[in-house]
């Protein structure tokens, strides 16, 4: 099949590929280019400058929002990774009676329109008399990300035969030990991936944050939305580029970390083989 593909491949394929890539990356390129624009225009370029970056780092309110968004994303991604992994284990290894419906409800959570979730959370907090604050945003983001984590970790766990854990129990490990010793090492990469996904979902979340944040410092996306009401400034471009760079760096670090862990494990193997 691949052999015939080498001479049967239509010429226009690379045009399609090029258009697809352009479609994906032109907005990113536009934002990046205009973030270095020296004038306030969003349509014409006037020489390069770091003016808008400086403006961002000089804006105390924006920086406060950025810090808040990072904190919210960190806390809610850690919380959702812990809870979501537990949910996934419960679904895949627990009683079918409970696991089945739980699995369905988790998928339902992924598919629920965020606006509905946002309004529902707002109503819930109001009914319970809980004042909106950073805490309510963190709780809401955790709820939002938990389902994604459960799906990502659960799909990896579904591929892992329960016999692996049974074998560990057979050889003297308790159920908990068996999970930690033979399932967790295999699940790690998917747990890290789920954590990154949760971080990104939380960090640039607008809808849920909008409904559940109080009167204090708003998370960054909510702040940006507020700024747009008074007209678009190129600072938004600079923020976009910084978020993009931050994400790429975070993903790159995660990949490096994973490689490092693999190398360390290899070294341990060598040592074990010698010892």
């Amino acid at each position: 099949m691949s052999a015939s593909g080498t001479f049967d491949r239509p010429r226009f394929l690379w045009v399609v590929t090029g258009l697809t890539l352009a479609f994906l990356f032109v907005p990113v390129v536009v934002v990046t280019v205009f973030s270095f624009n020296s004038s306030a225009s969003l349509t014409s370029l006037d020489g390069a400058s770091l003016r808008w970056y400086r403006a961002f780092f000089d804006d105390v309110d924006l920086l406060a929002s950025l810090r808040l968004s990072v904190v919210i994303a960190l806390v809610s991604s850690v919380a959702s990774v812990v809870l979501g992994t537990l949910v996934a284990v419960g679904i895949r290894r627990g009683t079918r009676f409970i696991g089945g419906p739980t699995n369905g409800s988790v998928f339902l959570r992924v598919l629920t329109p965020e606006t509905a979730t946002g309004v529902a959370l707002l109503l819930l907090f109001t009914q319970l008399g809980i004042p909106l604050s950073t805490t309510t945003v963190v709780i809401s983001h955790t709820v939002l990300c938990l389902a994604f984590v459960a799906v990502v970790v659960g799909s990896r766990l579904a591929l892992l035969s329960p016999q692996i854990e049974e074998a560990a129990m057979d050889l003297g490990a308790t159920r908990l030990h068996a999970f930690r010793l033979v399932a967790l090492p295999v699940l790690w990469p998917s747990i890290v991936a789920a954590g990154l996904l949760a971080f990104v979902i939380s960090f640039d979340n607008f809808i849920t944050s909008f409904f559940t944040s109080g009167l204090g410092v708003p998370p960054l996306p909510v702040r940006i939305y507020g700024m747009l009401k008074f007209g678009v400034t190129p600072v938004v471009n600079a923020i976009g580029v910084l978020m993009l760079v931050g994400t790429v760096v975070a993903v790159g670090l995660a990949a490096l970390l994973a490689a490092q862990v693999r190398r360390l494990r290899g070294a341990q193997l060598e040592e074990a083989a010698r010892g």
Partner: protein
Amino acid sequence: MVDQSAPDLPAVELLDVSKRFGRATVVDTVTMSVRRGEFFSLLGPSGCGKTTSLRMLGGFVVPDEGRIRLGGEDVTRVPPYKRDVNTVFQSYALFAHLSVAQNVAFGLKRRKVPRAEISRRVNEMLELVDMQDRSRAMPSELSGGQRQRVALARSLVTMPQVLLLDEPLGALDLKLRRQMQVELKRIQREVGITFVYVTHDQEEALSMSDRIAVMSRGRIEQVDTPDALYARPASAFVAGFIGSSNLLQVRRVGQGAQTAAGAVVPLPANAPGLPDGSAFTLLLRPEHLLLDPVGDVATMRGTITDTVFLGSMTQYRVHCAEGLELMVSVPNTSSHHAHVRRPGTQVSVGWQADDAVVLPADALRSTTSAENASAPQ
């Protein structure tokens, strides 16, 4: 074979054990006992309850009723990690993130065995299964047969009282399977551990086991040595499942038996006293049937409908005048070789009266499935 009069307690006992999943009774009041050091097989078609029985021995399934004892001690509700039995899983279930040596060391580490001793015992065990050269390999780098050996070493290294094996050779090709059968038997003799082996492959069970329990629909049909199961099956099901067989539905008439079509055939001398007119099944092994026999043997006339050359023997299918289909196996000796019979040949089929086996009447319930099972391979 293990000495039957051994005074010590059985290695494994199941006493009236039942297990239901939903409405299906998978294991139905099973009672059996495995002797110390024995190679014991649970043999039966898929869904007969053999794997569930094994999982109950391993502690992964708790029986609904009955008791399980290991070396005389009740372990019915003891979790797997506190039972002195290990399992070799059908899928091998090797730990993918650990090397061969680390896989084998796993059980010893859980038992807090000192490092030096772990290393020594792991090496010994890898040598026993002939994997000492691959101790640093990862499971993903091994072939199916090698994984099998590692799984075996991992389960044996802690020297459990009993080793449970769940169709361990199922995923291997025929040649490797034969080779591993011999290996397994050798390893079992060397370590002296009781093996309980689950398989649906009668040849595998016959060639390795000291004793076999034949299971069908959650019940044990018969427990006996391989040769006794073959020579004296207790039911039509066992007769059909072990080896190939001709099963004749007959009625007692005088000193003989009458087939549905009216032919009267003699009964073996040791036939139980059955009342006149009672229905039962007569088992005739294909290799006990003779073509165109001379002398004092019972005969039926028929036409050969199929001739299959199988190397060491030739298998004939004979359509008898009485509406019976009989399978006849003739060893390919030089004299037989000279006149192999072609389909269409008229023959007479006979047998020594004592070669027929009378199957008890209560076994008739499973005749249909046995007939299916005895179809030529």
